[in-house]
Symmetry: C2
Subunit: 273 residues, 2 copies
């Protein structure tokens, strides 16, 4: 799309990257689709109001309906001469407060948020209390029973490293290869994830997965399977067999979207926020 020669060149195209947080509760996921309120379509519409032209906003991760983001990265090309911070502030004035452009910066003309991503991390939150605080319920999978976290950790060890993750791939996944490198998978227990220290207490299990890339529903399918291990329905060795089976039907259920957060994306050339 970059026309850098010829008489049609009027304005230089700029590639603007956005760092985005969103509470996904009210949205039908990232990717535009008919008759649904999607993050992509909503943010594209607001960018167009600012730049005066239709834009195509490309994201690092096309999160599903209900999934949240702490560090989504997206970019669009524009002839607008507004600087990134002006665009950020104008967008935040137009967007609802459950979507925030945390930062904006110029990116290289060739920058692509998804293809250029070296690593990504996701967080998944499980709340195991019998009663879960109203300030947490939108952001956690509520499972009102004890989970054996040591068993979940033992099971998770089978999933780190480079594997064919076909058994954890959701339907409709368009990835060309199913081999992914799971760089790390940690499981922590904590008694406080309250947004005010000490005020929101409870029992929470937080999974954090970092990989070169993820297949569709991969984090949620892994989480659902590790929960089966935590309930004693699967042994740690079973996870190895499930992985090797390459058969989605062998793995556990898909954990609900509300507990999932896209956390961070890493690039070879970090964006200069």
């Amino acid at each position: 799309m970059i026309r850098n020669t010829g008489p049609v060149l009027k304005f230089r195209m700029r590639n603007i990257a956005l760092l985005i947080q969103y509470d996904g509760t009210s949205y039908s996921g990232w990717q535009s689709q008919p008759n649904a309120v999607t993050l992509q379509a909503l943010i594209e519409e607001k960018i167009s109001k600012i730049t005066g032209r239709q834009v195509n906003l490309v994201a690092a991760g096309r999160t599903d309906a209900g999934v949240h983001a702490l560090g989504q990265v997206a970019s669009f090309k524009t002839e607008s001469t507004h600087d990134p911070l002006t665009i950020r502030n104008a967008l935040n004035a137009l967007l609802p407060p459950d979507i925030r452009i945390m930062n904006a910066a110029y990116a290289d003309a060739e920058f692509h948020p998804r293809f250029d991503a070296l690593e990504k991390s996701y967080i998944y939150i499980i709340a195991t209390d019998r009663v879960v605080s109203p300030f947490v319920h939108r952001y956690a999978w509520r499972l009102p029973y004890d989970l054996d976290v040591d068993a979940m950790r033992a099971a998770s060890l089978n999933l780190t490293g480079r594997h064919d993750f076909s058994a954890f791939r959701g339907a409709g996944c368009g990835a060309k290869t199913t081999v992914r490198n799971m760089i790390s998978l940690t499981i922590e227990e904590t008694n406080a994830i309250g947004f005010m220290t000490g005020s929101i207490s409870g029992r929470f299990i937080i999974l954090r997965l970092k990989a070169d890339a993820f297949l569709r529903h991969m984090v949620r399918n892994i989480t659902g399977t590790l929960v089966e291990a935590g309930r004693g329905k699967l042994q740690p060795d079973d996870i190895k067999k499930i992985l090797e089976s390459l058969d989605r039907k062998k793995a556990g259920p898909t954990a609900p979207a509300c507990g999932l957060f896209m956390e961070q994306v890493w690039y070879k050339d970090p964006l200069q926020w």
Copy 2:
């Protein structure tokens, strides 16, 4: 209502206390009113479904529209023989997840959540970042400029102790006396109130007020006035003059409801949750 003599006595009345958390965003406050979804009416309706009788649910604090609660205490009298935990679990199954009965317990027959309260505390959260995380915006007053927290603290010193708080009393307050004992008023700055440690960062100012009781809008009027001090529009000594004037028009604006949390209620005989 306790009929403990005569032939009409069929069932012993029990007084059940509830410890309640709610996200007040979607509600028109605690107190029942026509054509509005209130916390009192909604919870009373669900209790009636469980006990088969209309009940009157009395709260420690009648929070305004949009105000949240971390530790609201309310009680109702019932002939039902369901034990408190059964009632708690049944209520949570009927109530939306932005209202949670965290605990339930038998209280003395004479227990009154408001009249018996010795002390109460409220928290008020201010977010001063230019861009506020979507995971915080429902729970903070967003003020995108620097506040001089030391000036706010200096101003607040004039408000501790026993005073006539008429200058900070909202319209429609039905309290018989306007003298209150402000036991403590602290102002803290923090860089993380994220519901996941480290993930939601920002600049936050958290006010915590503890008093024997509060007048209507008192915390929000004090917060609005201390913010004027933080902006340099009022000097610490001005707060003293405002307090002594007993004139609501002299004080600052009412801070918005969304930043306010009813935190805790103290009783001489603590409830046995």
